[in-house]
């Protein structure tokens, strides 16, 4: 049922062409007030990318995103392995995690601002709270679904708990954990950007927000394009890797 990686490439290309056509058509309908054509946007984005201003904001966002992702992965995996290993703990905490996952986290941004202040730490926190829960939830399921036989084998071999995790649980659960990381990646990115939009004076999210405020259509379009391309490329690559992992584990 799953498409091969060759067809992923073809599908993505088809999708890109369709999106570009729709974009151009929408531009003809809406006009200059609110949109730029794909060509104009590409030209502006290329020009904008070579400015030092862009490099500065990009570095800021990259740093915040990197930190947030690291934190999300570290905390998510820790929660996932702890809860996944114990029936009781996961019975108690998993529904709470699901409830946390379902709340609109955007409403929490004023609280984070008050707690962490304007700047790096609050946007890292915002990115982390978006990414950590899916990673934890996927890891819990993955760890719980590791075959009993594997664990028994490990016990027979007299593996220490740490060795059991490193040599049995982690490899066996990897494809599913990776699926969680893939989703965590996207959500951390969007969380960091949202954090920058509302709670920062630097970074691409802040640029986007100020462009929205000034109605700088060129900049809005160029930034949206760049972010979408980055997020899209990353998630397609991760998806392809994930499918390879699943295929190998079968």
């Amino acid at each position: 049922m799953k498409p091969q990686s060759g067809s992923i490439l073809r599908n993505t290309l088809t999708l890109i062409v369709v999106v570009l056509l729709a974009w151009q058509a929408l531009y003809w309908i809406v006009g200059e007030v609110a949109l730029r054509s794909p060509l104009q946007t590409f030209a502006f984005a290329a020009k904008f990318m070579s400015t030092p201003q862009f490099a500065q904001h990009l570095a800021e966002t990259a740093q915040a995103f990197g930190l947030a992702l690291l934190l999300a992965i570290a905390i998510g995996l820790t929660i996932g392995f702890t809860l996944g290993a114990s029936r009781f703990l996961s019975d108690v905490f998993e529904p709470m995690l699901i409830a946390l996952y379902s709340i609109p986290k955007i409403t929490l941004y004023p609280i984070l601002l008050l707690a962490f202040g304007l700047g790096m730490s609050s946007k890292v926190a915002f990115g982390t709270i978006h990414g950590v829960i899916p990673i934890a939830l996927f890891t819990i399921t993955a760890v719980r679904n590791v075959k009993r036989v594997y664990l028994k084998t490990g016990r027979v071999m007299g593996l220490s708990p740490l060795d059991t995790i490193a040599r049995i649980v982690f490899p066996a659960a990897l494809p599913e954990i990776f699926a969680g990381l893939r989703i965590g990646f996207s959500l951390t990115l969007i969380g960091t950007l949202l954090g920058e939009m509302f709670a920062s004076q630097r970074g691409l999210g802040f640029l986007l927000m100020s462009a929205i405020g000034l109605h700088n259509v060129d900049l809005i379009m160029a930034l949206t394009l760049l972010l979408t391309v980055f997020a899209g490329t990353a998630s397609v690559v991760l998806l392809a890797l994930n499918q390879r992992l699943y295929a190998r584990s079968r």
Binding site: M1, I8, N11, F93, M96, I103, T107, P110
Partner: protein, 250 residues
Amino acid sequence: MRGPLLWRLLVLAGFVGLLEVLCLTGVIKPLTMQAPHRIVTDLVAMLVSGALNRAIAKTLGNAFIAFVIAVVLGVTSALVIHRLRRVRDTLEPLFATYYAIPVFAFYPLLIILLGLGDAPQIFIGAMLGIVAVIVNTLNGLDRVPNVLLKTARVNQMGAVETALRVTLPCASPYILTGAKLAVAYSLIGIIGAEFIMSSGGMGYEISFAYNNFDNATMYPLILLILVVSITINMGIARWEKALMARRGLR
């Protein structure tokens, strides 16, 4: 089942109690956060006085409209996409990327297209929710047993009748999973849009209160949003569980 539930309540109570103690002893400054009991009394006072009831009704009403649009359109398009293999393969990368795209960047465009009213906010809310519904509905449609489809064919049902009587009821637990996400996403869309640019609604009131250090308004509003989304989600989850239990799953 009683045991974990009790523990969950204890953990929750412990957490709230800890916050209460930290706030009362001044470790958390009143400017950062008010004691939980104050938030609750403020919320009750706010609801009774009715000062913000218009904003609350506006936001929750819009979120509800966005939710209904997302579910109805999402399920319908999933039914169509499910039959068109090629379209589905092409859309797959979009679905994987979708939640990493900063949809709020399109808000200014939507305002120009749809005017400065509730429409662009509802559009964003629905846009955010619809993909979650589509993806989960497709997942559910994939799991409809072939036997049921054959039965439908033997009974000479048309495409619409098959969908209404066989495939949709069979896929309903998965659709509900999508609906749960759509609840959160429609709230995120509406409130986020209100944060960015609007003249009313809970998001607007929260950011207004935040800018004025008016914690007595901000925290109760945030609490209300959290309570509403968690309650709705738990309701749907219960329904989902009942459906699964009736089928002898889980």
